[in-house]
Subunit: 311 residues, 2 copies
Amino acid sequence: MPLEYFDLRADHDIYPTRQPDRETWIERQDPVVWSDWSDAAPISRAETEFFDRNGYLVLKGLFEPEEIAALVDTASELRGALAGSDDPTVVTEPDSAAVRTIFRLERTHRLMDRLSRDRRLAGIARFLLGDEVSIHQSRLNYKPGFSGKEFYWHSDFETWHAEDGMPRMRAVSASLLLTDNRAHNGALMLMPGSHKTYVSCQGETPENNFENSLKRQEIGTPSQQSLSDLARMHGIEDAEGPAGTLVLFDCNTIHGSNGNITPQPRSNAFFVYNAVSNALVEPFAAEAPRPDHLAARGTPRPLSLHDGALV
Amino acid sequence: MPLEYFDLRADHDIYPTRQPDRETWIERQDPVVWSDWSDAAPISRAETEFFDRNGYLVLKGLFEPEEIAALVDTASELRGALAGSDDPTVVTEPDSAAVRTIFRLERTHRLMDRLSRDRRLAGIARFLLGDEVSIHQSRLNYKPGFSGKEFYWHSDFETWHAEDGMPRMRAVSASLLLTDNRAHNGALMLMPGSHKTYVSCQGETPENNFENSLKRQEIGTPSQQSLSDLARMHGIEDAEGPAGTLVLFDCNTIHGSNGNITPQPRSNAFFVYNAVSNALVEPFAAEAPRPDHLAARGTPRPLSLHDGALV
């Protein structure tokens, strides 16, 4: 682990949060795109600049229909097989036994393992982060029709820093849509440009906060005042697209999603890539780190990329 | 009251609902547009045909900015004045004292009275219904940012028929948007074409059902199977538009709205126009009629239209 991170932890925390008495805004201390663009980059210069400026990117048409069909079938199998499971990697809806999330997705099926290492995801992540990457967290998300619950606004990095000990903003999420996503069935909403500001949140982390925060996050979210200000400054964009659309977003981009009363479920395969040089240390604002399936600890293992079609 | 309605009530109900043992689909027995279009009509032929086919119509630019500004100010005043009120015309959010709905809107303020009789609303209603019109129900709706709750799918007519005794499908709702409405802040969702089918719902009406159904409707809603089928047949459209947009929809169009975690509230002034020949009788599927502020009873008083600007 580079010395700077050790010093950071020992001396002072540049991204303090979960303070009992106040909320503050701190300017981002890290680059968003850690590589210089060149013709060899896996995305265009315009896409790179868009991601840098907005903290997200929506890419369509990267996957073939038969690849998406195979992923959808596999996702359905996995949800069926794990319905009612009490394994900690399986999260259910607040009001029912329906599977909402399956963590460690790449360990559940060979196809999901290949997807996690696919150059179209992990290769872009490697470029954006300017480093080898490992998986910080992965999951299959499923938000049912009729009763899918909302997920409130937050920056992932705030939680990963506070509760997982992720030192710097050098991680990116890749969400591959497995259903058509529209604003009215709970598509991801992002505040473009919000990734340049770190909202240091008020409120100390309760013990085992993750047990509740995965269902309904309350600690580690910006105040309504901050969210109103950020939305007025940046607006809100909906990450809409057909199944097969890839949504990439920076670890500090404020995002959330509404509930969904439409009959149409929302599902995606979700991978968080972290730079291997950004390995986790002790949590910055929690007594104990979250479990390994929420935040992979130990020496990072750089992913070996998978080339070519998934199926 | 025309004899045909008396006969209808006495002999058999062509729109039976709230049956204990089953849900059924019944073909609509009434026209959607009750007038023949001519050059004198307040909407175009294409708009008339759109409404006939889809059961809704979104009209932009009918109101001047200063008219909308005056309505927004008045709405804000009314909500402030009635916050915490226990008057039955005032409904609050399930989880807070914030005003969600104010019924009998036209009686709260001269501007709202003028709006209720404005030719741009009531004149179009008169054309669509081919009759003089009276107000069946009116309200100011306000869905706050961050925590606005969803409103589940339903046909208004099903409730009005069952609980208010509205004989026929000869009523239209007019919603004038007082905030920008987008899918992601809980805009009205409609299933275009669903107004041609009457979903006779399963489940008997509990006593004083309206006390709960205004906050969270459970009785008088189609089954998930029916909603899935209707959505597959018809799709789902979002009634999006800037403040000042007018949304008209038929009494039997299936509609609902999602919750809203964005900071942006959603508000509208809402008037239900009923043909005076379609006066309420005894409820078709409830022990007692709902209160007068939810469904105006007695001899209908035809509205005298207001011409010209609101302010």
